[in-house]
Structures are given as structure tokens and as C-alpha cells.
Amino acid sequence: MAGFLQQLVQGLGAGAIYASLALALVLIYQFTGIVNFAQGELAMFSTYIAWQLTAAGLPFWLALVTTLAVSFAGGMLIERVIIRPVEGAPELTLVIVTVGLFIFVNAAAGWIWTFLIKDFPNPFPAGALEAGGISVSFSTLGVLAVVGVVMGLLYVLFRHTKIGLGMRAVATNPESARLVGIRVGWTLALGWGLASTVGAVSGVLVAPLLFLEPNMMGGVLIYAFAAATLGGFDSPMGAVAGGLIVGVAETLAGAYVGFIGSDLKVGVPLVIILGVLLLRPQGLFGRAVVERA
């Protein structure tokens, strides 16, 4: 039983990381209807910025704040420069453009920082909390706490601020939002900025566990996709719940299903994506889209 709980906690820790990247994916999807295949790579790039700043001697938390600010600006810039020209284009075009962005950002990071792996400082103290026969490492607790805080901040932003109200209006109906005086273009850019910031958080969280290298987020991205699909691509709540479920499912499947083991774990997100899309395409918390042909 203790072993099972231990796996469960580990799964939640992994799930929190998937949840944070899924949250970034969902933010962009809500506003622009784009599934951003480059989200993981943008997070990786942000993490490199954080690494560069700490390597230059900045204290960790100051480096983090700077990184988040840079990521926010970078996200807005990408929306303005790269995504704006293809706004409203067919899905095929959007997917190809974000895949292009994926390849470009990945290679650019390799060009600037080489493909050698780098050690990333862990912001949380080593050691673990022991309770009832299971041990929860401080870094797992820290990751869960950070994701919780990010989720809370986003909730406050969307529910209780004027900017958030405007963003929800744009997500619901861009034309009507424009008619009541909301700057739709800038709101979309703001959405991208927010998503990049959330993505940067997930990159910084994942880097101490995985080692920093340009392909770091490739594996995380597919889990985040599964999480967003499971939770529903239009529900931030769902993304977090989906992330936790995916993390737990993957860890338990790896530990208890002998055939899967640790190497075939990556099949879990594939099964989840396929299963959700076939049984409940809108995800657990998403709204089904009714379409007029």
C-alpha cells in the first residue's frame, strides 16, 4: 500500500509538470484556436535564458522573474510577428507554421547553447517529507505548489480583473469583443505572452529533473498534449486535472503493468489521446462544439 501511495505521489509530481505545459497550450488554444506545437520548445528556450542568467551570477529567484518577463515579451512578439499574418488561416497552415517554429526554436537553442546537456540548479531544497511510510521530496511538493499558485493567479486574472474579462470576451467572440471596444489583436498577443510565461515556469520546473538540453521538452510535450486533450482543450481547469491524471496513469502503468515497463510508458499518452478523442472528443471538462455545416 505504501508502495502504491509512493507511486501515486510520484505520478502527481510528474503530472504537475505536464499540467503546467498543458495550461500553456490551453491558454493559446482558447484565444487563437491554435494548438501550439512549439510550446515545449519555447519553454525550453526560456529555461536556457534562466540558466544563462544564473550562470552569469544572478540569484535564482531574480533570474526567474527576469526570465518570466522576457518570456512574456517574447510570447507577445511571436504572436505579433509570426502568428498574426496567418490568423484565421486553415488549421493545416497553423499547424505547419507552429511546427516550423518548433524546428527553428529547437535549432536556435542548439546553435546558441550547443547540444551538450547542462546542469540546472534546483530551486527547492534536497531531502523529503516523511509521512506514513511514504516520502515526498521537497521538489515534488514545490512543483505542486508552484502549479497551484500559477493556477490560482490565472483564475484571479480571468475572473476578477478587467483584463481577464476582456480576454474571456475575445475567447468567446472576437467580433463582438471588438465592437465593445476591446483591442482584440493586443488581447491575443497578451494570451500568447501569458502562455509563454506559464510555459517558462514548466520549463524551469522540469529542467532540474531532466537536465537542460534543446530536446528536453520533446518528451514532456506529448504528455502535455494528452493532458490537454483529456481535460478539454478549452478548459484551463481541465488541463491541470488532465495533467495530474496523465502523470499518475503513466507512473502507475510503468510500475505495475509489467509489459509496459519504463520504456513503453510513452505509449500511455497515445492511448489516452486516442481513447479520449474516440469516446469524448471534447475532453472531460471541455464544451462540445456544435457546428453548422
Binding site: 536556435a108 542548439g110 546553435w111 513503453l264 505509449g267
Partner: protein, 344 residues
């Protein structure tokens, strides 16, 4: 005495309204005859090249043809049916491994591996096409990406069959004595034959009602359905055909390289294929060849600058192509030809 049919024809001619003025004679580069001439010239060059080039360059040309066949399949799906696949490397790998396993474990004569590999990829494509038809663009991209990622550990797992991470090393098809060709030349001509067959098949497919149905689905799903196009059948079949071409390319790849390993078929292969197709030209017949040239030669040239340069160039080019020339290099070439002013 005049021939009655002739008088009838003459009467008919006088009764008919005056014929429209003859269209201005087309310039030579627009005529169909010129196009056939160009095709013949290209064919002659393709047959002549291996006798003039050093073996390494012959090998490179062979690889261009292999990529072109795979891109032909991807083009059928993405360019003509408007579906997205980020996992075509997986079908390529299935073809390659099917051929390799048949050669290694069953010692099948190599020509027989081609239909089996193509069939296996076709069936797999069909199997994934069924859920794919329920999936819209974005989700299809997700699922195919997940398949491409999942394939590598799967190949490593079944070590008895696939040789695990070490892969399988195979003997390359030997040129028959009557041909008098060197190994690289024989492989080149084998690949050329497969590529030409694949092109003819694909061109025929697109000119048939299947092609028209796919175009209709791409351009407007709702309208296509109203016109009586069975969406589910055609989308699933498009996926299966497309997988079959990729599998065929994979099989020829095994013949030519004589070695398969999981790390040759990572998700990078799928993304490179998509990049090559976008740059070469979505929805055109020459796009896959241009894309094959691009995939084969650009990374090598760019690698001289920096290890990461191919990625930077690929990424920027894809985005740029989507902005300024959605039909890729093939479309640009066509546009240039049309730009040449017609003689009055």
C-alpha cells in the same frame, strides 16, 4: 459524283455558326508536346546520370528518389486531402522494418518484400485511418505525432524481431550478372523503377474520381458531402494510400542502406518529411521531387555552417513558405512560367 457524306459534312459546316477565331499559337514552353519532351529529356538524364557520377553521388540521387516516394504519399494526404500527418516517418519505418525482418528471418527474395511492406503499411494506415476520420486537423496532427514518438521504444522492445537498438544489418540486393551494373547503379535503377511506378500510380489516382473526391474534401468538406462524396471512406483510404507510399519508400530504403535501426526513424524523420513537402510544394506532382532534393541536400550543405543550421534553415523556410508561397518551390516555378508574358 460527290460523296454523300462529304456534302452532308459541308452542309453541316455551313449551317454551323462561324467558328471562333483560332486561339493564338501557344508558345513552345506552354505546349503539351514540349512538356512530353521535357519529361523524356528528364528520363534520359535520370538513366544517364548513374554512368557519369561517382558512386556516392549516385547514392545521394537514390536517396532523393526514396524521399520523393515517401513525400508523394505525404502529399496525397496533406496536399490533396488536406489532412495533417506529423507521423509519416512511422509508416516509412514500418515499411523499412517489414522488409528488413522478411529478409533477415525468412530470407525472402528481396523483390517480394516490396508488395508485403507496401501492404503492411497500407493496412496500418487503414487501421489508423479509421480513428483519423473522426479526428479533425489538429487532433490528427496530435495522434500521428504520438504514433511517431511511440514507435521508437516499440521497435527497441521487440528485440528478437527487430534487433533492438542495434538494428538489423542486411545484404544489399546484388546486381544480376546480365546487367553489368555496379551495385550502386543497380540500386539506383531499382529505386528509379519504383519511383516511376509510384508516380504513375499517384498521378492516375489523382486523375480518377478518388482524386476529385479528395480535392473536394480538402476544399470544402460540407459541400463535398452534399455532392455525395463519402467522407469516411475517402479520408480513411487517403490515409491508407499515403501510408502505403511511405511504406514502399521505407522498403526501398532498407534495400539501399542495408541497415535499419530505431534511431533512423525518430520523430525528426516525420518532421523533416513534412518540412520537405511544404518547401517542395503541397498539392503538386513535382513538389515531392523538389522536396526530396531539399531534404537530401540542404541539411548537408547547412551542416558546414553549424550543427544546428539545418534546423534553423528548415524552420525559417517553412514559415516563410507558408507566408509567401503556400504552394512551395513547385508553385513558384509554375508562377514564374505563367509570369512570362504571352505574345500578342
Amino acid at each position: 459524283m460527290s460523296n454523300p457524306t462529304e456534302t452532308n459534312a459541308a452542309q453541316a459546316r455551313t449551317a454551323a455558326p462561324p467558328p471562333p477565331p483560332a486561339p493564338p499559337p501557344a508558345e513552345w514552353w506552354r505546349s503539351a508536346r514540349w512538356r512530353w519532351g521535357a519529361a523524356a529529356l528528364l528520363a534520359a538524364a535520370a538513366c544517364y546520370a548513374p554512368f557519369q557520377l561517382v558512386p556516392f553521388h549516385v547514392f545521394q540521387l537514390t536517396m532523393v528518389l526514396i524521399y520523393a516516394v515517401a513525400l508523394l504519399g505525404l502529399n496525397l494526404l496533406v496536399g490533396h486531402a488536406g489532412q495533417i500527418s506529423l507521423g509519416h516517418g512511422a509508416f516509412f519505418a514500418v515499411g523499412a522494418y517489414t522488409a528488413a525482418i522478411l529478409l533477415e528471418h525468412w530470407a525472402l527474395p528481396y523483390p517480394l518484400t516490396l508488395p508485403v511492406a507496401a501492404g503492411a503499411a497500407f493496412l496500418l494506415g487503414l487501421a489508423f485511418g479509421v480513428p483519423a476520420m473522426r479526428l479533425r486537423g489538429l487532433y490528427l496532427a496530435l495522434v500521428t505525432l504520438a504514433i511517431a514518438i511511440f514507435l521508437v521504444p516499440l521497435l527497441k522492445r521487440f528485440e528478437d524481431l527487430t534487433g533492438g537498438s542495434m538494428g538489423l544489418t542486411l545484404a544489399k540486393p546484388a546486381p544480376p550478372a546480365w546487367s553489368g551494373l555496379a551495385e550502386d547503379q543497380w540500386l539506383y535503377f531499382l529505386t528509379l523503377a519504383v519511383a516511376v511506378a509510384a508516380f504513375l500510380l499517384c498521378a492516375g489516382l489523382l486523375r480518377s474520381r478518388v482524386g476529385r473526391a479528395l480535392h473536394a474534401i480538402r476544399d470544402n468538406e460540407g459541400a463535398a458531402e452534399v455532392m455525395g462524396v463519402r467522407l469516411s471512406v475517402h479520408k480513411t483510404l487517403a490515409f491508407a494510400w499515403s501510408a502505403m507510399f511511405a511504406g514502399t519508400a521505407g522498403c526501398v530504403y532498407t534495400w539501399v542502406i542495408g541497415f535499419v535501426s530505431p534511431d533512423s526513424f525518430t520523430v525528426n524523420l516525420s518532421i523533416t518529411l513534412l518540412a520537405g513537402l511544404v518547401v517542395g510544394g503541397l498539392g503538386s506532382l513535382s513538389g515531392p521531387v523538389l522536396g526530396g532534393l531539399f531534404v537530401m541536400f540542404v541539411p548537408g550543405l547547412a551542416q558546414d555552417i553549424n550543427d544546428a543550421a539545418p534546423g534553423v534553415i528548415f524552420g525559417l523556410l517553412i514559415i516563410a513558405v507558408m507566408y509567401v508561397a503556400p504552394t512551395g518551390l513547385a508553385g513558384l516555378a509554375g508562377r514564374l512560367i505563367r509570369k512570362i508574358p504571352r505574345k500578342e
